[in-house]
Amino acid sequence: MGIVAVFFRGMSEMQNIKGTFRNNSAVRLVPAKENLMTDEMRAQSEIRIEHVSMTYPEEGGRSLTAITDVSLDIQKGEFISLLGPSGCGKTTLLRLIGDLLQPTTGSITVSGDSPKAARMNKKYGIVFQNSVLYDWRNVRKNIRLPLEVMKIPKEEWENRVDAMLDLVGLSNFGKHFPHQLSGGMQQRVSIARALAINPEILLMDEPFSALDEFTREKLHEDLLRIWQRTNKTVVFVTHNIAESVYLSDRVCVLSPHPGRLSAVVDIDLPRPRVKEMRDSPEFLALVSKIRNSFEGV
């Protein structure tokens, strides 16, 4: 069993936050995912966010500050959640990482490169809140889409699609069209499509928030299984505290007006996570700890 060092950057810069996490030390050790950590992964953070602010220009010369001065390091293979109420800038932060937005100030690097270079190098798989499947393509062809666009050799398509269908448990649904699938299945196809190009980083923007509770919990299990098998770095945006605790290695708590990183919480529940943990005192304690940190919001 390996140990991974988790850095808290930017914590010391935050002032006057009513949360309970100001006493976090700069470096803490948390239990790692079993058998998954290697020396190489420990070496260096994969995504480095430094003093990033994002301001949207608005009409009439005014502007809207979405996030201000966020610094964060995300380790390779880590499952990290960006948690917060609406308006806290969590989606903005995800989009900044994914090169869908450019920061106003500050910098983001992905393995030392710019987000744009990372995007061009097929490092990102993105899953949105809505599955964003192309209605006119069946499941197989939806999963194949990034392979077609990103010029993956044609000979690999079928094998990759088969592997992805298997990974998300939809092998029997390849010929179905999106409208013939349930919401949960659609989101699984969306995950399969994101993983088809074998990206290093999976960016997920509230992927399960439109699903019912039962489907969501099922997909939690699926996502964790997929993550353990593929070893991706996952950045997971959510407004659901329990969800973030159950899935993550670390939870980044963001507060609104203006959006800022107010706390980073280590989730030291053992891996693999199992359903029963949702009722454990440790789990509930973490949930309430995070919930309390929002009281000043």
């Binding site: 869908l100 949105f128 809505n130 192309y134 666009v149 069209f177 349930s182 439109a210």
Partner: protein
């Protein structure tokens, strides 16, 4: 039992009721005019539907020839207009300034009544001789007017389709570092197909109308020519038969587009439910 029930709830049943209703209303109205009011102008006002159908059967060769003349020109014009509208929509979506500049002209083009435009076109257009084949001026006019009336609904509907592609679908293409031709081929165009078809469905009966109109404005054949001519000569049976035929062509045009839509969009077939993603 269940099958009967579901039939009564189906769209087919509704259409059936409509058709039967129209036929009944027609026959009853004709009965009143002919046998209650004993109107001697009955044949021009509203002859029995079954007698009109009798006329169609009796003059099948004449009417089908006329229909073929009108319809073939309408189809050529429709195809040309659809192509122009399609290209125009893509052009406008690619270059925003072009859309802004050309849109008022497009609107203006549709404000000019074709009834006024058709004679102008007729007077400008001359017959064309290609080798041994002569294309009559009226044929060219039919095609031009049909195309003219078709391109607008096609262009506007297609354009609104291209503009309604949702941001997340585009973001996805962006993360794939897709170039513009790829974005159009794999996203914009397939996404807009339903919009294109709603434009085509509006345009198809209009193209038939345009062709009929030119028929009646001095062409030497076609169903519109039959209508005008039979009206002048008082052969009301042929007149009503022609009216029914032209209505049938318009409806045919519409349903041809519905059929194409279903062929081209298999993903839409039997959808509707589970829309709330």
């Amino acid at each position: 039992m269940g099958k009967v029930k579901s039939f009564f709830k189906s769209g087919r049943f509704v259409s059936l009721v409509w058709i039967i209703g129209i036929v009944l209303a027609w026959e009853i109205a004709a009965f009143f005019i002919a046998d209650v009011f004993h109107d001697r102008m009955m044949n021009s006002k509203l002859p029995y539907l079954h007698s009109i159908i009798g006329t169609i059967v009796g003059n099948f060769a004449l009417l089908s020839m006329a229909c073929a003349t009108t319809l073939s020109r309408a189809i050529i014009g429709f195809a040309a207009g659809a192509l122009v509208g399609f290209a125009l929509a893509i052009f406008m979506s690619l270059f925003r300034p072009i859309e802004k500049i050309s849109y008022p002209y497009l609107l203006l083009s549709q404000m000019v009544p074709i009834l006024g435009l058709a004679p102008v076109v007729i007077s400008i257009v001359h017959k064309v001789q290609i080798g041994s084949v002569t294309i009559a001026a009226s044929d060219i006019t039919r095609v031009i007017i049909a195309a003219y009336i078709t391109f607008f609904p096609v262009a506007t509907n297609m354009l609104s389709g291209l503009k309604s592609v949702d941001a997340d679908k585009l973001s996805l293409m962006f993360t794939y570092a897709a170039r513009k031709p790829t974005v159009y081929a794999k996203l914009m165009l397939p996404f807009s197909v339903p919009y294109l078809f709603s434009g085509l469905k509006i345009a198809a009966p209009l193209a038939v109308t345009a062709s009929i109109l030119v028929d009646s404005l001095g062409a030497a054949g076609g169903i519109g020519y039959n209508m005008t001519y039979s009206l002048y000569t008082g052969t009301y049976s042929i007149f009503w038969a022609s009216v029914l035929c032209s209505a049938a062509m318009g409806i045919l045009g519409y349903y041809a587009m519905v059929l194409f839509e279903q062929l081209f969009m298999p993903w839409k077939r039997g959808s509707s439910k589970k829309g709330g993603r």
